[in-house]
Amino acid sequence: MSKQASRSTLTAAPEFRLMVIAVLVFGLMAVLSPDRFLSSQNLTSMAFQFPEFAILALAMTLAMMTGGIDLSVVGIANLSAVVAALILTQFTSPEMAAGQSALWLALAITAALCIGALAGLANGCLVAFFGLPPILATLGSGLVFTGFAIAMTGGSAVMGFPGTVALIGNAQVMGIPVPLILFALLAVILHFILTRTAFGLKVTMYGANPLAALYAAIDINRMLLKVYVIAGMFASVAGLIIMSRANSAKADYGSSYLLLAVLIAVLGGVNPYGGYGRVIGVVLAVLSMQFLSSGLNMLQVSNFARELIWGALLILVMVINTNALATLRNSFAKAPK
């Protein structure tokens, strides 16, 4: 293989295009609003904002790699957060000593992660053992999880946490926001899982051809269970961050994050039919989105316009990635004369 060939395959990769987009957006925003966009205050606030939905996008990526999808991530996030919040409000009080409340916090986090794992296990069972299409299994289970959160709270927000809760969502370690650290950690873990473990390779291969995976004696059911358990636990981490940043937990927080997570994963080059996806692409997609939305914010563009631009970006990237314009040209060239 010549060096040239490997360079051309590098630039042909969808991730490369995403990197160009991310850099362009960053540059554009920096030029349009240099003093504010590049201010450390803005950069920090961006770093606090995106991890919650970016982690949901990582969970979505894993599910999509198998050719599935996880529409229950937001439901799981909120259910875990509500459970954690109920533990915290039941057993702690603002006057409690920091050490004691930290203990309860640790317990609440563990409970939330367990809920995430259990919910993921339920999804995995529905997909693996009952043969439900993932989109329907997680659509239904998502409603059930959200429903449990509503039933447990009566639909209202749970609040009144000890100060230690803010550690998850609002603290910084050596100037780096904790949510960003959590996201980076999870992204690296997912990257290694997908590219360097037998499990990750099985996920990719199953996504590429489920039938061939069966004939290759891959332990499909166990693999699917793992996929949805991991996705569920990722979702509960996102739920904890949301809880900490909002200083409350509610059954319908972050409902706009679901489609956003799908959008980011697809934007990041993950094949929604399975078999292809790279964490680096998803990270670049998240960054592009965040630069864009934050920059637009600086330029006084409303939230709604951001939604518009995200949608347009998604379709634009799809048009480029799938070479759709050639399809269009052919469809007109072939039209009967």
Partner: protein, 333 residues
Amino acid sequence: MKSWLPKDFWTRNETLVAGVIALFCIIATLSDPRFFTITTVSDLLRASIVIGILAVGAMLVLVSGGIDVSFTAIAVFAMYASSVVFLAIWPAAPWPLIFVISIIFGALLGAINGFFIAFLGLPTLIVTLGTLSIFRGFLLTFVGSQRISALPPSMRDFSRGVLARGTTEAGNFYSIPWSVLALVGVIVLTWFILQKTMLGRSIYAIGGSVESARRIGINVKGTQFFVYVYVGALAGLAGIIHGSVGRMADPFSLVGLELSVIAAVVLGGARLIGGYGTLTGTLLGVALIVIVQNSLIVIGIPTTWQSVTIGLLILLGTGVPAYRAKRAAARAG
């Protein structure tokens, strides 16, 4: 089994859903005799109209082998935009004209979906996910983001129009609004297209196998394009009815309902892989969802458990056939 029943009667989703509805009604009537009255039925019917029209559209897309999550955004866009337009230029316009314009708005937005899907060949879920954001973002940014309660007066007239109204012997009030006719019209038109035209059969054929459809000369692109335009038009109609009946143009309403509507359609037996789906099933699915949303309390389940119930119904309604198919495949070897 009687011979007039279809061969697969007992294994069909329609049968399952109808059974669950019947069971629900029996339990509800037993626990509260007032449940099974014309009042309840007319209430449920009214609640079904907008969802019903949207569901018919969603079913058509599933039959053609695609999926559409943008129809709620189209509905709200068409409703709000046509309200704004008429308030600005002709507030006294008759409601049929406003409705037609809303339907045209819907069809145009649907055509955008159709363009990307049919002519650019992009995956349907991704395109409609994108256009959901685009339509909603465009509406809220450029058309408006305020609720409008002073709608053109003719729209209020429409919402007042009733086919039948009255008071039961027990003193309960009931009414059946004009908008029921819209739902009936949509059902009849869609039934006609699907069962009586080559276009409709082509939609089923494409859902069954796109490649085969192409090979025998079906105009695949044109048919797909039609599907999304038609769904857009239905969404425009559903949207304007929603606005008129609610007597408010709320740009934040409807969006978020899309997955519930699709759930209703899937409960009714439409398959995500395309080619399968019936109007009867779709309407039964809608009925079930609407009953659960409105009458759960009657059988003693608190309203806060509504979401859990719908979720479980979806899991059951799609899980039972899926599990059966999986077992059958394992048995066949």
